[in-house]
């Protein structure tokens, strides 16, 4: 196995080497979201060449692959964030609970409330910490009254592991927090509208290792309640936080399997090359 030759096996870095049954294979579980033959074009350029992928409930799916391979594009298809990109065209079928998200019956606004997103760069609103969290529930009318809103804000911040750090400064601007805290604030903001799926686009790429560790821990905890898809460049991170991993290369999905399988026993040569650091 070439894994042993170069970098240390990512699996050795796993925070817990548990052999829980749920992790052995996720492939049999019901899919929360399914993608079938997803093709994306930016004007004339094809970015995705037919992706078939299942996203399982209460699991973390990691999308890995070299830059420009289309993993972020795929992620942004899942909650139709690509709608805002000029000249972007999506073909194929993406379903959430069996319903086509690009269908006529689905409203993008409602979809994005069900499929939340956390971005690469922390992007809190230039408002107070409280208002950052409360904004989503307010516009969706999820909380009636002041007390309920306070409750939502508190729960979201607690789930994002930020409550202890900010509970005395909820009125301060969200931009005054550190980078890692800002990212957790963004996660709390996404949680506040109680989505079913959370998409994370390289959430830790702008953070230091300690803040990254916080976020990874958080992702693992959030898995109990949410389905998570995370794009990452960091293979150790993929190995640490995900149960399933999909490897993208040049707009194709090369391989998708249980994370353990991908990292120990990749079937495709390209996957093996990438995870052992030969390219990417």
């Amino acid at each position: 196995m070439s894994i042993t030759s170069g970098i240390p096996s990512p699996l050795k870095l796993r925070p817990r080497g548990d052999g829980r049954a749920e992790q052995r294979s996720s492939a049999d579980l019901p899919a929360k979201m399914t993608a079938r033959g997803v093709k994306v074009f930016y004007c004339a350029k094809q970015a995705l060449k037919g992706i078939d992928l299942d996203i399982h409930e209460n699991r973390v799916l990691a999308l890995i692959g070299p830059s420009g391979c289309g993993k972020s594009t795929f992620l942004r298809c899942l909650n139709r964030m690509n709608d805002t990109v000029e000249g972007c065209r999506v073909e194929g079928r993406i379903a959430l609970d069996g319903e086509d998200v690009y269908g006529k019956a689905v409203d993008a606004v409602q979809l994005r409330a069900r499929v939340g997103m956390v971005f690469q760069k922390p992007n809190p609103f230039p408002k107070s910490i409280y208002d950052n969290i409360a904004y989503g529930p307010r516009i969706h009318g999820l909380a009636s009254g002041r007390d309920e809103l306070d409750e939502v804000v508190q729960t979201s911040l607690k789930r994002a592991g930020l409550w202890g750090e900010v509970k005395d400064r909820l009125r301060e601007p969200g931009t005054s927090l550190s980078g890692g805290q800002q990212q957790r604030l963004c996660i709390a903001r996404a949680i506040a509208v109680s989505p079913e799926v959370i998409l994370m686009d390289e959430p830790c790429s702008a953070l230091d290792p300690i803040a990254t560790a916080h976020i990874e821990e958080l992702i693992d905890e959030l898995r109990a309640n949410y389905t998570i898809v995370i794009v990452t460049h960091n293979m150790q991170q993929a190995a640490r936080v995900s149960q399933r991993t999909a490897f993208f290369h040049l707009g194709e999905m090369v391989e998708c399997d249980d994370t353990e399988e991908i990292f120990t026993n990749p079937r495709d040569e390209r996957t093996q090359g990438y995870i052992t650091g030969r390219y990417g």
Partner: protein
Amino acid sequence: MTDLVEQDVSAVTPSPASSSGSNTPVKSRVRSEAFARRLRARHVAERRFRLAGAAAVALAALMLVVLLGSIVAKGSTAFWEARIRLEVTLDPAEVAERNYAPILRRALHAQFPQVTDRAGKRVLNDLLSSGAPYELEAMVAKNPALVGTTLTVWVRADDEIDQLVKGRYRRDLPESERGLSDAKIAAADALLASGALAQGFNTTLFTAGDSREPEQAGIGGAIVGSLLTLLVTMALSVPVGISAAVYLEEFAPKNRWTDLIEVNINNLAAVPSIIFGLLGLAVFLGFFGMPRSAPLVGGLVMALMTLPVIIISARVALKAVPPSIREAALGIGASPLQTVLHHVLPLAMPGILTGTIIGMARALGETAPLLMIGMVAFIVDVPHGLTDSATVLPVQIYMWADSPERAFTERTSAAILILLGVLILLNGTAVILRKIFERRW
């Protein structure tokens, strides 16, 4: 989870072996003589450039000082006016007939008992402003109890006397070239000596409308006219301009049509303002039959002229809002409109406000289009509504600059000073609003 942190740190810390680079000594090329020469040349070039910049700034400042200095020197005296003190006896019979001029004349003649002939008395009469009787009338109207009493009043002097007091007539010139008779000068000197001729703050300048007589002319009407015009301009161009900018920037698809619209808006911003005046004349006056010289039409024309400026500056401000904010809002399910109203527009507000106020300042200082729609008329009354005949500050300045009387020269400069003051006020407001609305992200 602490072990994860440690592992993570160790994972990213580079091993000591990889950090040590090659230390082979290479003769540095930046130490050579030629390099030192080039470096000196670079520093000289930099000093030269800085000097040129400083010189340009100094030249601009000098020109500003000369310009402002000349205006202030000419115009500052207009804020004072010459007044004559009179002991008037308000005869009830004359008051009843509203015949105030003889009352004033009698009081003035009483101060010159030696003058008995009609020519001499006419000279004395000419010392008083033709508006002085109205001043007295206004006084009586305010306090009818004054009728029948004798009281001391200060009334306006004629503009020639006013200019004489301010030293704008050259006494060393012969009478024929001076434009002011020796007799008048003698009478005025006598009044000055007795303290019956003095200068007071010129409130007329701020409250009155236009007049043929400089001492009765003021920019009150023009200021109100400007305000009304600006009100119409703002009410139309700000909402329309911001809406258009938001639509074009945030919602419109980028295709050939929107490109065409964008090019046209940019071109419109460069169209000479008189063209907008012609358009106003043809469309608003000619086709819709709106009233001539009205602030309503002036405001409409100005709104058309200001719109491109506002749209362009608002689009720039909207473009400057980081896309991450839009993504953040859309990502938690805000509708595009909510994204714009709650996040993008508030962040773009300082820039939009600055553009708007600059557009407004331009509209305030604009003359040409208003000439076309008849706002150049001689209007004595202060306008009370949007359809009343009115003029605006810059047009008033233009008209006064055309008048031959010396006193109007002074008032022209004073009006320019006031216009500049209003513009500075507007721009100052822009800066303050910017500071207030500015938020960091």
